[in-house]
């Protein structure tokens, strides 16, 4: 019987792990799903917008511990909000200075944003130093929650999960239920027609790009609880992020969710039953195979050919 309960505990923790990986993948892909999925901009600097969020959290954490230690347990919420606005503001500037000039040239956008990512990485290095830093996590985010003796559920995993659900719900409402979302979708479907019915497409583009970057900033802030904060931390995420968005079918938020879920579950199970590197090989092979059979991804918007 002891054997059975232990097996149960491991199964429960492994199940939670699958969900937790799902939330991490979804959280990092949400911003890109907006930028790449809705706008069609291949933003290679997406990882660096995550890093902006991570560094913002680090700065808020150090300022809090030096100037307002009493605020320590709660600084994380402030950090998340600041991350959103700082990453969003920088995204706004980038759209204004660079992306807006390149809407007709997707491949040039790819190169330009890749260059931007290098510039931003060196920027982080010059400002914060080449070494990694770590934000001090408040106690309530550390350690694990134990529903029973044998089960450890990571608290940071729960936190990331909650944040992901909240953010996804908000984005859904914005894109599919708000007037602004309607304008975004109209612009993406037919820019000229959208402009002719009186939508300020330039403003819509700028806001959409800024929103995507802001969401990336939030993801970056959340990831300080589970990963590293360094000048090149963003490059750890960029491949997985594109994988999730492309696999899901670029223009559909539901597709992104489905894609993150299936990749996360496959990865988590395979990691458990094979090994880390092999799991990656199997997962990527499966994704390649499915994309060969279904190049538009899991879900695709219906368009008239």
């Amino acid at each position: 019987m002891e054997w059975l309960s232990e097996f149960g505990a491991i199964a429960a923790m492994q199940g939670f792990n699958g969900l937790s990986v799902f939330c991490v993948l979804l959280l990092m892909a949400l911003g890109l799903a907006i930028i790449f999925g809705q706008m069609g901009v291949i933003n290679m600097a997406h990882g660096e917008f995550l890093t902006i969020g991570a560094y913002t959290t680090f700065v808020v954490s150090s300022l809090t511990s030096s100037y307002a230690p009493a605020f320590g347990p709660y600084y994380f919420f402030l950090a998340i909000i600041l991350s959103f606005f700082i990453a969003g503001a920088i995204g706004w500037l980038v759209e204004w200075a660079m992306i807006s000039k390149l809407y007709q040239r997707p491949l040039d956008t790819l190169l330009a944003t890749w260059g931007l990512s290098l510039v931003m990485q060196q920027g982080f290095r010059s400002i914060f130093g080449a070494r990694e830093v770590s934000a001090t996590l408040p106690d309530w985010l550390m350690g694990s929650w134990n529903p029973t003796e044998a089960i450890d559920i990571p608290r940071n995993g729960l936190f990331v999960m909650g944040l992901t659900l909240l953010l996804t719900a908000l984005l859904f409402l914005m894109i599919y239920r708000s007037r602004w979302g309607l304008q975004v979708r109209a612009t993406m479907q037919n820019r000229v027609m959208a402009r002719s019915v009186g939508i300020n497409t330039k403003r819509v583009d700028r806001m959409t790009f800024a929103l995507g970057c802001g969401v990336a900033g939030v993801a970056g802030a959340a990831f300080t609880t589970i990963g590293s904060t360094g000048p090149t931390a963003g490059s750890l995420y960029i491949v997985d992020t594109f994988l999730v968005v492309v696999f899901g079918g670029a223009s559909s938020l539901l597709g992104t969710i489905a894609s993150a879920f299936s990749i996360a579950q496959a990865q988590s199970l395979l990691e458990f039953f094979t090994s880390g590197s092999m799991a990656k090989v199997f997962t990527l092979s499966a994704v390649v195979l499915i994309l060969m059979l279904r190049p538009q991804g899991l879900f695709s918007a219906k368009v008239r050919k």
Binding site: Q14, R131, N156, S228
Partner: protein, 410 residues
């Protein structure tokens, strides 16, 4: 063996510097450059040019910055004490930019274009393997600071970090003896250094310690999700997790271990890849109580190290930390100076010939000696991670002979 141990600087650098350089100048200045340099290196009557070749940009800058700092500090101290053979050291620093072909190209530039007398540099094995053919063809000299997988010995390289057996065997012996460990879970990032290290570890565990390996696993570089792995560790319940995870993965791994409740009170963990540098990113509180096997920790209690830490902090700020490789990088210029002065020449062949047997009893790690195989005799220490990001040294081995081609472990 016949060489004199070299005295490090007096602690008050600034005061003594001028007097010392005058003294040294009068001792050596009569040695004409034509005599100490017969192969056309960049040596004048007052100056000798050396190269530093590390990644100041790109992903590896995280690790290599400390090495650059240490090498520059050592060179500055040597210059303040009169230089090498009466000549001040001039540094040409090149950026390998975390890109291996760039390393090779910059190595050629330093050796062929700048004619440097020696190079301090490289960090990853990949970068060393990339520059090795250049150093052998152009007959340059490289001081390489990182602990690495062994299985290499070149006439043109002096390895100032530990080779794999020095670092691994002592650590495993300690954990088997002190913690009664019988079962091990081996874990690393997926590239040559962790895989070679774990191969050595497995042989030692199975053939020498009579223990059992209950899991061996590698994760892609940059992997940030370790939940499944941690569950497997919980399932197999090894006495020891033996880890060589590097880079951003390192931070993710320890943060998630802590979050999953796998802490030092429940699980013994020994790592080969966490120094004070990595702890900055991981956070001491996420790893407190786990152990690392290294030849150097910043907290080592000896006068050499106290002077070194003081000088390092004076130059780079009070929050600067010093990891194992940083200290090994600091040894490079001192070992080179000792070899040049023993040889009485900057000629590469003469310096190489003079190197085996060079001793430093002023090294921050204590005493080191260059072996015939170009690696260093050194001690291995076990450090316990403290919350403040430092290590407490809990064990120190005897001086260990370097053995880059260990029989029975390949």
């Amino acid at each position: 063996m016949d060489s004199q141990p070299i005295r490090l600087l007096p602690r008050r650098l600034a005061v003594g510097a001028a007097a010392l350089s005058l003294l040294a100048g009068s001792l050596f200045s009569h040695v004409a450059s034509a005599e100490v340099n017969t192969t056309g290196l960049a040596v004048t009557d007052s100056e000798v040019t050396v190269g530093i070749l590390h990644s100041a940009t790109g992903t590896m800058a995280i690790s290599e910055t400390g090495s650059i700092q240490a090498e520059r500090l050592a060179i500055e101290q040597i210059n303040a004490s009169g230089g090498v053979l009466g000549r001040q050291i001039k540094v040409i620093q090149e950026d390998g930019a975390s890109d291996w072909p760039t390393f090779a190209e910059k190595a050629r530039k330093l050796l062929v274009g700048d004619k440097v007398a020696t190079v301090f540099g490289c960090w990853t094995s990949a970068s060393r393997k990339a520059v090795l053919p250049v150093f052998e063809k152009e007959n340059g000299l490289l001081y390489y600071p990182t602990f690495y997988e062994g299985l290499e010995q070149s006439k043109n390289v002096i390895y100032t970090g530990q080779e794999a057996t020095q670092q691994i065997l002592a650590g495993l012996d300690w954990v088997a003896k002190e913690k009664g460990a019988k079962t091990f879970y081996l874990l690393g990032s997926d590239y040559i250094w962790p895989r070679t290290s774990m191969k050595i570890a497995r042989k030692h565990i199975e053939n020498v310690l009579g223990g059992k390996v209950v899991g061996e696993e590698y994760y892609p570089l940059g992997n940030t999700q370790f939940g499944s792995l941690i569950n497997k560790i919980k399932l197999r319940k090894p006495d020891v997790v033996f880890a060589a995870v590097v880079g951003g993965s390192n931070v993710a791994f320890y943060k998630q271990m802590k979050a999953a409740g796998v802490t030092a009170d429940k699980q013994t963990l020994l790592t080969l890849s966490v120094t004070e540098d990595e702890l900055l990113g991981i956070g001491g509180e996420n790893m407190a109580g786990f152990y690392a096997s290294m030849k150097y920790f910043q907290s080592l209690d000896n006068p050499n190290n106290a002077a070194f830490v003081e000088a390092f902090k004076a130059k780079y700020g009070k929050d600067a930390v010093i990891g194992d490789v940083t200290q090994a990088a600091y040894l490079g210029p001192w070992l080179w100076k000792a070899a040049v002065e023993k040889a009485g020449s900057f000629d590469i062949d003469k310096v190489v010939a003079a190197s085996p047997g060079i001793e430093l009893d002023t090294a921050p790690e204590g005493y080191v000696k260059v072996h015939d195989n170009h690696h260093l005799w050194s001690k291995t220490r076990i450090g316990e991670v403290q919350k403040d990001g430092q290590f407490k040294v809990v064990f120190e081995s005897d001086l260990i002979e370097p053995n880059p081609f260990p029989e029975g472990y390949q």
